[in-house]
Structures are given as C-alpha cells and as structure tokens.
C-alpha cells in the first residue's frame, strides 16, 4: 500500500477553491457604479458649477471664486447657518432629554415595556413630509387640535399662533421633531443600556455605589458608543433639516427659520442661481465634513470592552 504510485492531476483548480479577492470586487461593482454615477460625479459637478454664474436659463459664465466671495458677505446665509446650528443644539438636547428617560423606562423585561417601545417608535416610520403636514394641521389655530384642547382646558383664551414669532415657532418644530424621532434615539440608547452586563451593575451595588453614582460612573461611561452614535445621527440629520421648515414654518417668521439646506434649495430652485447654490452646497459640505470628523474622532476612542 505504502508504495502505490500516486497520480498527480494536472488540472486547473476545480471544485470551489478558496475564492479570490477579485470576485469580491465584482460583487461590489454594481453598487459602486450607482455611487459613482449618481453621487461622485454630481459631487464633482457641484464643485465645478460653483465657479460659474449659472442661471437656469441663459449662458453660464465662469466667474472664478466670485460666488464664494459673495457667499462670505451673504447675511442671509450666515443667519441660516447660525440658525441651523442653534436648532441642532436645541433639538439634539431635547431629543436626548426625552429619549434617555424613555430608554431607561422601557429597558425592562416586561411585555408591557415591549408594547410601549413599539408605541414610542411608531412616529419614526412616518415620513417627515406626512409628519410635518400632520403637525401643520395640529398647530393650525382655527381647526387644529392643539388650539381646541388648550382652549378646552382653559389654558389659553385665544387661539395660539406659535408660527408667528421665532421662539414659539422653534419650540413647536422641536416638539414635532422630538415626537417624530425620539423613538429612534431611544432604540439606540436602549441597545447601549442592554449591552451593559448586569453583573457590572451588581458589582457596583456591592461596592456600595448609590443609584446616582452608579448611573454617572458606570452606566453613562459604558453607554458611550451608543451615546456618540445617537449624537452623530442626530446632529447630522439636524444639520440637514429641511422638510419641517419647508412645510410647517415655510421659513418664517421673517425668514428666521430658514435652515442651511433650505437656503440651498432657495438659491438653486427658487432664485435659479445654480452656480451660487452649488457654492452654498459645497460650503455646507465642508461644515458637515468638519463636524463628522470631530465626531469620528470621538467615536474612535472607544473604551476597551471587558
């Protein structure tokens, strides 16, 4: 047996040999084509267009950095950027203030907790468009629910018109966004909470830590990843807010609630200054990339997992 000659088979690798890397590339290619044609190319075009005076009708004209220098002096733009930042800070804070208690509330192994989780999450699946129109109705002073309910319980005598001045308008928008998105943040925070091993909490109990000190020294630091993720998602989407301002406040009162994306929309699709709109887009893009970069640095320093 030992000396039976063995046959060397000279054949290409058959069966299913270890798959080669290029096969992976082939799998990715269709997706990449989409990104290339409908994202990367338009992105490059945006930059290119920003160097032109590009009206919708008529001839485009290369004007170098003129759009950018105009942008620097565009008060409306700075105002809308400032407003967007303010909104981002406030709405993110508001969402966390609501979502964190919600997460703590539903973080228990009860059937009812699951039920409430579903309810709190429900508005998330409704589109921003539908949600905004829905709230437009709720808020409307003549036939809206809020006016009627508030009047009904005697809180106010005349119909509230929150959209007529800045802070009330901001407040109701934030209320609507919290309603619409707190459930989403809740779920992310919930994952963080559930990722904390019960043992660690119990160890802290045995170490004599009070409820407050357990929360501050154990729970919060261990939820870091979830917190940062929720922060990133909320900040990014708030910086890009558009629908709620377009539909509910329509930028008013006095153009005080025009967000950054809204002003891009206005420049490109209302004033039809495509070149200037592109310059705005590019500027916003840089702001966003900077913010994202900061957040990614935060994300990268992740604590060691036990």
């Amino acid at each position: 047996m030992v000396d039976t000659p063995t046959t060397h088979i000279k054949q290409p690798i058959s069966g299913e040999p270890e798959p080669k890397g290029w096969l992976g590339l082939a799998f990715i290619l269709p997706g990449f084509l989409f990104i290339l044609v409908l994202f990367l190319v338009p992105l490059a075009m945006t930059i290119w267009m920003s160097f032109y005076n590009w009206p919708l009708l008529g001839r485009k004209k290369f004007i170098g950095l003129a759009n950018y220098s105009e942008l620097l002096g565009d008060m409306q733009l700075w105002h809308s950027l400032g407003f967007t930042m303010l909104y981002t800070v406030l709405v993110t804070a508001a969402i966390f203030v609501v979502a964190f208690p919600l997460a703590l509330l539903v973080d228990r192994p009860l059937r009812s907790a699951g039920f409430f989780r579903t309810i709190f999450f429900m508005p998330v699946v409704i589109g921003f468009g539908a949600a905004s129109t829905l709230w437009m109705w709720l808020l409307n002073p003549d036939s809206g629910v809020f006016a009627q309910v508030l009047r009904g319980i005697g809180l106010i005598s005349s119909a509230p018109r929150p959209l007529e001045s800045f802070w009330p308008a901001m407040a109701v928008i934030i209320l609507m966004v919290v309603w619409k998105t707190a459930g989403f943040t809740m779920v992310i925070l919930l994952t963080g909470l559930q990722g904390i091993s019960n043992d660690v909490i119990e160890a802290a109990k045995i170490d004599g830590a009070s409820v407050f000190s357990r929360f501050r020294r154990i729970t919060l630091p261990l939820m870091r990843n979830s917190l940062v993720l929720a922060l990133v998602l909320n900040v990014t989407s708030s910086m890009l807010a558009f629908d709620q301002f377009f539909i509910i406040t329509q930028g008013g009162p006095e153009n005080s609630t025009i967000s950054a994306v809204f002003s891009i929309y206005l420049a490109s699709f209302s004033s039809y200054r495509l070149g200037y709109g592109s310059a705005l887009s590019f500027a916003l893009l840089i702001v966003l990339v900077a913010i994202s970069a900061i957040q990614f640095v935060l994300l990268r320093e992740r604590p060691e997992e036990g």
Partner: protein, 365 residues
Amino acid sequence: MARLELRNVVKSYGIYEAVRGINLDIEDNEFVVFVGPSGCGKSTTLRMIAGLEHITGGDIVIGDQVVNRLGPGKRDIAMVFQNYALYPHMSVRENISFCLEQQKLPKAEIDERISRAAETLHITELLSRRPGQLSGGQRQRVAMGRAIVRNPKVFLFDEPLSNLDAKLRVQMRTEIKRLHQLLPTTTVYVTHDQVEAMTMADRVVVMNGGIIEQAGPPQELYHHPVSQFVAGFIGSPSMNFLTAMLEAEGDGLVVILEDGSRLAVPATRFQEYRAHAGKPVIFGIRPESISSLTQKPGFETIEANVDLVEPLGPETMIYFDIGSVSMCANVDPESDPRPRTKMPLSFNMNRMHLFDPVGGRSLSV
C-alpha cells in the same frame, strides 16, 4: 471575618420556589463551597447573601446582625462574579479603588490599600491597564483584588473559574486557596464543578432542587454520601449504579444484579444493611473501586466484556456493560486491557453503597 448564618431562607419567583428553605451555619473563616447541578439555586442563595436578591422568607445573619433589609453595599461583603464584572472603562487601579471611593476613604489610605492588595496578588504592574488588555487569569486576579481591598467580613464567589481554560482553572484554583490561607476570611464559593468543590472546600454543600442534600467535609461526602444524588454528583468519573436485589444468604447478605451476578456483602457491613434484606436496592460502586482481578477479602469478581478502553497514562478507564447499564472502571494500565476482549474485574465491596430505589436515600445506617 464573621460567621454567616442562613436560617430557613426561602426564595420564590412568582409561584416558583427557587430556594426552598436553607439552614446553614458557616464558621468564622470557613471556606464553604456550594455545588450542585445547573438551576439548583446556588447562585440565588449566594445573591441573597450578597443582598442582590430580596429574600422571600427566613433570615440571613452576618456577624451578629440580621441583614435581610440591608442593601448590598452595606453588608460588608465582597463578591467575585463569573465574568468578573470588571468595569471595562476603568483602569485596574480605578476598578479596585471604586468601592473605597464610595466609602469616602482618604486618598492616602486608598493608595496604601491598593498597593498592598496589588502586591499580594502580583498585579502591581497591571494597575494602569484596562481590563480589556488583561488575560483571563489576570482579570481573575483583579477581581480578587477588588474583593480583598475592602477587608470584607464575607467573601462570595459565583463560579469564578468557569470561564477559564482547563490549565488556568487548576492554577487559579490553587491560588484562591492559597489566598484564603493567607487572609483567612469567611468564604462562600459557588461552582458546579465537583472537582473544584472537593479540592477547595473546608465544607462542601451539595444543593439539589432548591434544598441542601448534604453538607460536610469533602472526604465525608465522598465516602459517605447520604443519597444517590450526592454519590453520583461527587467523584469523577461518576459512581456506577445498578438496580439490584439485596438478599439474605445464609448468615450473610448478597447483592443480586440484573444479569444474575451475585456479589457477597463483606461481613463488616452486614450490620449496616441487614434491615433491608429482601428488598430491591440501587447498588453503587465507584470506578476506582473496580480493579483488575484481585484476590483480597471483600473483593468480588465478575467476567466483563470490555467495550472501550481509554488509556490515560497513569491509569486506564475501561467501559463494559452489565445488563443494559454501561459501567466504567479505573484499572491499572499494567493489566493491559483491550477492547472487545473478556476480562475478570473485581469489585471492592468494602467500598460499595446501597440506596433506596425510591427517593434515593442511602441505606447505610
């Protein structure tokens, strides 16, 4: 350093009674190991002692104080968890100092205590690392450090070794034991591994279905199990059990196995079992009480069909059937057993056990 007393402690989850009334006195500095199959209530008992679970009934006394209503931070106990439960975001030093900070001890005292504990456990050079950067054994030591730094009255361990690999397990086992000899403290240690229980305990408590089956020093449990459950649980490989009849034969007693083999009970043990003559019994014998052919008093020999042979180096396990039951014997490798051969095997009847087929109580008096 204190006694620990459980007085008729009960724990129910809804209608399910996880712990059904436990009484136990643990001496100052005693090392008690709770052992038992999964779900028997070991962890629950330990967690009630720690104060992590409310007790449904009974009293727990630490030192001279009934602690039923005291929070876990107030009971002056320390606990080492199965996964160590180290705080992953804190350095080793912070992990150890956390409980001292909660007690608002002065900084200097904290530092001093930490360095003492770290030296004892040889983890001084690990103090600035995070738990994620430690090996299993090192984590284990940090968890111990966190426990000893506060000089607790009672040490509690919940399966602290079950996540380690076999080699490390043996090593950490001796280390825990050594530490206990160095810093004697009342200790309750939970495991489901009977080898750990046997090697570490001053006293082993065998639990089953929420009650204590037997509590006593390891050798007592090994040699005098009060029930078939304890006999089967303690010892590895397990004791072999056969249904049998105990019959009087002349002056003596004989155990008649299913396959008709007759094994004479040594005269020294007549007294013990006489009352049960004529009844069905469970006959139990440990693999190490079965040897290759031995002609000594009290040894009874049968012919076995060897099924499978496992040479372990210093000893060899062989498997054979009696009736429908697979038996295991631990024989000298010199006897060179081979699978699928016949071989005479001798049962050391001085070491046999008889149990009641109903309820499993030991029949020895």
